[in-house]
């Protein structure tokens, strides 16, 4: 927008006002009514000169100010806020549906507080940005009239209304480009924050989970934009993005990767909004292993793969989940345990028959992890995967499997899809603000400087204008008077 030409139009209007005012003083008051106009003429001419000087200073200054850019779309800011706030609020609804039946009230209120904090922050930022943009749009409409206000104020400088008009005129003239610049900065900041917070899609669903297999398993699900994990213990529903497909990408039990199949059974009818069916998972080891477990968790597994030799009256059977009895048999065991012992001949070989993996809990900020439940350590401690050949000929043998570290976990709130996104919100806010940090600093510093400058100008400068303009006017009139005398001699009418 070429505001310089608009400004010049207003400057010329101001010149017109002064010309009219001075002509009125000289012709009507001085000539026609014969009044003493000296002091009034001094003031008027002084004010006119001050106006010209001020415009001469301000106009070149304006070319160094940021140009009057097109106002950023304020409606867009609110639109994005509404989208994020809506989705975050629906995450709260989903969280409530999942947590209240299991009476996890504290967890719900914690998550609700986090979400409220995010909404409050971006709401405040969006409102501030929209306010500044709206102010900028209003000032833009006022901008071409600024020199007019200044000329009106200078015409009668020592009056209360003039001081306000001068303030409005100067503020409009100088602050409009600056506020436009601040509006653009704030818009960029808000856009930076909002872009990083924007949800991958606008549809959230809840999926029921039915798991059949060694338990508790750690299930990893993948969607187009996110990956999430949950323990099968405690999980009845998982929140997912409704517009993205879902795959079960891994099922792990005791750090052992299980074989699995899964289906999603769509609901025939449901009164629960957002419910999108049930994820049914069937998982298993390559063989029906016996788990070494007690009430505190799982500590390994073993399985008699095959009886290699069988003598007369040979027998073999499990006594409990860590002890196997054999007599007159040679048995090949697979074991996932800290070790194995027995009172007969044992030949032990390390194996990798079943794939093992490191596991990780939900990929969210560590401080929020306890809200989602408890998860196993990432790596197993004291485990070996073994093939054991135990032979007991003409004797009884007790084979004992030694437990490894504990595999256990319980999911309170599955950190999948939208919940994971919501819990990443505070971090995303920080990332978004960091990316715009220089803009944040500049914007707030500019606002501070403008406020101080306008206040100082109003308090300190304006009271002196009346005196200053009167002196200035006196000098100019006294200088021009002789010249005017010569001219009036030339045109004696």
């Amino acid at each position: 927008m070429n505001y310089t030409s608009i400004l010049w139009g207003a400057v010329l209007t101001g010149v017109g006002i002064f010309a009219f005012y001075i002509a009125y003083i000289v012709i009507v008051k001085g000539r026609l009514r014969g009044m003493n106009i000296t002091s009034e003429l001094y003031s008027a001419v002084g004010a006119f000169t001050a106006f010209i000087i001020m415009m001469s200073i301000i106009t070149p200054l304006l070319s160094h100010l940021p140009s009057l850019t097109k106002p950023p779309p304020g409606g867009w800011v609110f639109e994005q806020y509404d989208i994020i706030a809506s989705i975050l609020s629906v995450v709260k609804i989903v969280t409530a549906i999942i947590l209240f039946p299991i009476e996890e009230f504290t967890t719900y209120y914690s998550i609700s507080g986090i979400i409220n904090g995010i909404i409050g922050f971006i709401g405040g930022l969006a409102y501030l940005t929209a306010m500044v943009i709206a102010l900028y749009k209003a000032l833009l409409a006022l901008f071409p009239f600024a020199p007019l206000f200044i000329s009106l104020a200078l015409a009668r400088p020592n009056k209360p209304g003039s001081i306000v008009l001068m303030g409005i005129g100067l503020m409009t003239l100088v602050a409009t480009p600056l506020i436009g610049w601040v509006a653009s900065l704030l818009y960029r900041i808000t856009m930076g924050v909002i872009t990083i917070l924007t949800p991958p899609c606008l549809d959230i669903k809840i999926l029921g989970v039915a798991y059949f297999g060694p338990s508790p398993a750690l299930v990893t699900i993948s969607q187009a934009t996110s990956q999430g994990v949950f323990m099968t213990n405690g999980t009845r529903y998982i929140p997912i993005w409704g517009c993205e497909g879902l795959q079960v990408s891994q099922v792990v039990w005791d750090w052992l990767v299980l074989n699995y199949t899964y289906t999603i059974q769509k609901p025939v009818f449901t009164i629960i909004p957002l419910y999108n069916g049930t994820l049914v998972i069937y998982a298993h080891l390559p063989f029906p292993a016996t788990a070494i477990e007690n009430s505190t968790g799982v500590y390994g597994a073993w399985f008699p793969l095959r009886v290699l030799r069988y003598w007369a009256n040979g027998t073999g059977y499990p006594i409990n989940n860590t002890v196997f009895f054999i007599r007159n048999e040679s048995v090949l065991f697979w074991a996932w345990a800290d070790g194995v012992g027995g009172n007969c001949s044992l030949r032990i070989n390390e194996t990798g028959m079943v794939k093992t993996t490191l596991v990780s809990g939900p990929m969210i900020l560590p401080m929020f992890a306890p809200l989602t439940g408890s998860y196993p350590p990432s790596a197993p401690i004291g485990y070996r995967q073994m093939l054991i050949n135990a032979t007991a000929f003409n004797e009884s043998c007790i084979v004992v499997f030694e437990p490894g570290s504990r595999w256990s976990g319980y999911t309170t709130l599955p950190a999948t899809g939208p919940v994971k996104w919501a819990l990443a919100g505070p971090l995303n806010l920080v990332i978004g603000l960091n990316s715009q940090w220089s803009n944040v600093e500049t914007a707030f510093m500019t606002v501070g400087v403008i406020t101080v400058a306008v206040t100082l100008l109003g308090i300190l400068l304006l009271p002196y204008l009346a005196v200053g303009t009167a002196y200035l006017g006196a000098i100019i009139v006294e200088f021009i008077s002789p010249l005017w005398g010569v001219i009036s001699q030339l045109f004696p009418f």
Partner: protein, 329 residues
């Protein structure tokens, strides 16, 4: 119009005052002991005649102020409703009611859903439903927060404009516009007359203009909440399950039926979440920003109006001094 009707308001006070001054001039003329003093009184008489003409002009000006305001707005490319001075308080009151109604409806529905959630949540069986309702109320609260702020700002503006309209209406009805010109004549009342005249000159145009703009704003963006609910209702009117559930409550008390209707509409809206979010974002954000921008424009324009009033008052006083001051010969 009979001659005596000129004594009626709004012209009456000004004309009576001018008449009294004229009578006082005549008394002074006849009692003046010297020709030069009589000459002063003739001067004064001229002043009073000019003042009386100005009085009538100002009274007329006040009556056409709104149309001047509308023309100015139209010239600036802004379409505003033309509101007469005397109608401003009523129009602003209606706007305030509409905006306050939206604000209250929003708060009441949010509270009602939250309270229903708390009551249902107190029972073991319906606890999940209760919690979902509680979250639904915070959903409403979150998306409507900027709009509610804009509504509060609009309410403040409508109150301020209604108050100014009330003042201007009283000024118009009691002929204060005319009186202000009459008050310019005697030197002792010139200052207050100048302030009154300046206020009337500026705000006879500005106030109807701004009130008209405010009215147009409220008309276009003041009922976004109702529009939003209506779009959800319309969207869910084809949902057979919802309609079947609602039909069970046909004989329920109307308040219960309304409450169930609204909650059911929201539940239905949430089942088609992408539509709900997009519709909300578009409708609410546009209304909020435009309302906010309009509020800021009105605040700035009113501020400028008061500054110009102060500036003009001083000019009018000086002008009146030059025009009406009797030169003592």
């Amino acid at each position: 119009m009979g001659i005596t009707s000129l004594l009626n308001l709004p012209y009456g006070i000004g004309i009576v005052t001018a008449g009294v001054e004229l009578a006082w001039g005549l008394v002074k003329y006849y009692l003046a002991p010297t020709p030069s003093q009589r000459r002063e009184v003739v001067d004064e008489f001229y002043s009073i005649v000019i003042g009386a003409i100005l009085t009538a002009v100002v009274a007329y000006y006040m009556s056409i102020g709104p149309s001047i305001g509308a023309s100015i707005a139209s010239a600036l490319g802004v379409s505003v409703t033309q509101v007469q001075l005397s109608d401003i308080p009523k129009v602003m009151y209606n706007d305030f009611n509409l905006v306050m109604g939206q604000y209250i409806a929003n708060q009441v529905i949010t509270f009602a859903i939250s309270a229903a959630g708390a009551v249902l949540g107190a029972t073991e069986v319906l606890r999940p439903v209760g919690s979902a309702l509680g979250s639904l109320s915070s959903f409403l609260n979150a998306i409507m927060a900027p709009y509610n702020r804009a509504l509060v700002a609009t309410m403040m503006n409508t109150i301020a404009l209604a108050a100014l309209g009330q003042v201007m209406g009283v000024m118009y009805n009691y002929g204060i516009g005319s009186l202000s010109i009459a008050l310019l004549l005697p030197s002792r009342t010139r200052r207050i007359g100048a302030w009154l005249a300046s206020f009337i000159l500026v705000f006879s145009i500005l106030l109807p203009l701004v009130a008209g703009y405010q009215d147009a704003l409220v008309f276009n963006y003041g009922n976004v909440f109702t529009m939003w609910i209506s779009t959800i209702e319309q969207h869910c009117s084809n949902n057979t399950i919802l309609q079947a559930i609602l039909s069970l409550f046909l004989n329920a008390p109307s308040w219960l039926k309304d409450a169930i209707n609204i909650i059911a509409d929201f539940v239905c809206g949430i089942t088609t979440l992408p539509w709900l979010v997009t519709n909300t974002a578009t409708l609410v954000s546009t209304g909020t920003f435009n309302l906010l921008e309009g509020d800021i424009i009105i605040d700035i324009v009113m501020g400028i109006g008061f500054a110009i009033t102060a500036w003009l008052a001083d000019l009018i006083e000086a002008g009146a001094r030059a025009l009406f001051e009797v030169r003592h010969l």
